[in-house]
């Protein structure tokens, strides 16, 4: 079998088996073949560090409703859901189409197996969200921020992936930061 995209029935099975974790899980957000992720907190990146990472400071948590972005403002967004992936599954994140008419753009990536924990602590999945307008713009969290779908590679032949020196250094740095309780780092 080659890598296949699981349907909602298969995603529900993966959740039951513990191969996938989406916590908290809201059944209404499970669509035919993706789960709609919800924004949790917004963070402002500070000056760039020498290694390319940024410290970040907390901005908003949607407790009191939507957030008004400044013109062209770029913030880091974390998710309500903590996502962890085991086995030979990969997650792929695309912007929610609702962002188009809200005039925001999203930078997001993939999630490999093992993602979700680092240095004995939860690893936040972070994305970048930017107001594309030259004027203030409200971001409404209930409209969603991104959709995650998965590819299941169990039963498929594969080679053990290796790390580049930069990836190894970055992981060790993040592990140390997680253990020391620091916030931030490269996405």
């Amino acid at each position: 079998m080659y890598g296949t995209t699981p349907t909602n029935t298969q995603i529900a099975e993966l959740l039951k088996q513990g191969l996938l974790k989406i916590d908290p899980f809201e059944p209404e957000n499970l669509k035919l073949a993706h789960y709609r992720l919800r924004p949790f907190q917004l963070w402002r990146p500070g000056p760039q560090l020498k290694d390319g990472g940024h410290r970040r400071s907390f901005v908003h948590d949607f407790e009191e409703g939507p957030y008004q972005f400044e013109p062209n403002e770029y913030l880091i967004v974390t998710l309500l859901e903590h996502v962890t992936i085991s086995g030979h599954l990969v997650g792929s994140v695309l912007p929610a189409s609702t962002l188009v008419e809200q005039c925001f753009s999203l930078t997001a990536g993939k999630l490999d197996p093992g993602y979700g924990a680092i240095g004995g602590k939860k690893q936040d999945f972070i994305m970048g969200i930017k107001n594309m307008l030259d004027e203030p713009n409200w971001f409404h969290p209930e409209r969603g921020v991104a959709n995650i779908s998965f590819v299941d590679f169990r039963g498929t032949r594969y080679d053990e992936p290796k790390w580049t020196p930069a990836e190894r250094d970055d992981f060790r740095d993040r592990e140390l930061k997680a253990r020391s309780g620091a916030v931030g780092g490269t996405p």
């Binding site: 909602n8 929610a96 189409s97 609702t98 925001f104 594309m132 409200w138 409209r143």
Partner: protein
């Protein structure tokens, strides 16, 4: 068949059996496993509605060639192709790589089954296109805008999908706006409730 990405031969078979519609369809835009979408119209977002979306006005339709974006300008773009998807197929849209050297960024998403019609009207697939430069920048529609690929879930077990409160409200609002655009009357708020 478990969720598999369709090849061009599979996409053609889905077009012939009307499980997918790409109208108008241009065979030269069908690649190994995706179809290259073409830009049709550009729209400028204006007043923001309480739900976060924006009203929009037509800016350009490429009848007279490319469009010169203002520095950092963000516009809504609709494709030439009207896309509808039936059965248990899903469309996934990624930016055309030609945008990179043109210095544009695209926001696009997924298309679920049933997309393409709302009420009895055509539903446009919208994307967001921004000029990343601090200077004016030409957008050439012939270079493409986005690529759509499809995953086929026919034969796989699926659960019936539910809507969130926001999704239900948004769909009804859009349906109401389209009906109002048709014949002009004002429609009262639906009696639907948060618990509904």
């Amino acid at each position: 068949m478990d969720g598999q990405t369709l090849t061009n031969a599979n996409i053609l078979a889905c077009l012939e059996s009307s499980l997918i519609s790409l109208d108008p369809f241009e065979p030269a835009n069908l690649k190994l496993a995706h179809y290259r979408l073409r830009a049709s119209q550009l729209w400028r977002p204006s007043l923001q509605f309480p739900d976060g979306s924006h009203d929009r006005s037509l800016v350009h339709d490429f009848q007279d060639g490319p469009f010169l974006f203002a520095p950092k300008e963000y516009l809504i773009v609709t494709p030439v192709e009207h896309i509808t998807i039936q059965a248990n197929l899903v469309g996934s849209v990624l930016p055309a790589s030609t945008l990179i050297e043109q210095c544009f960024i695209l926001t696009a998403g997924k298309i679920d089954p049933g997309y393409g019609r709302i009420g009895d009207r055509q539903q446009d697939f919208v994307m967001g296109l921004a000029n990343l430069l601090d200077e004016p920048n030409w957008f050439h529609p012939d270079r493409g805008i986005a690529n759509i690929s499809f995953v086929d879930f026919r034969g796989s077990p699926v659960l019936p999908t539910q809507w969130t409160v926001y999704e239900r409200r948004s769909f009804r609002n859009r349906e109401r706006l389209l009906r109002a655009a048709d014949d002009g009357p004002f429609y009262e708020e639906d009696s639907w409730s948060e618990e509904g």
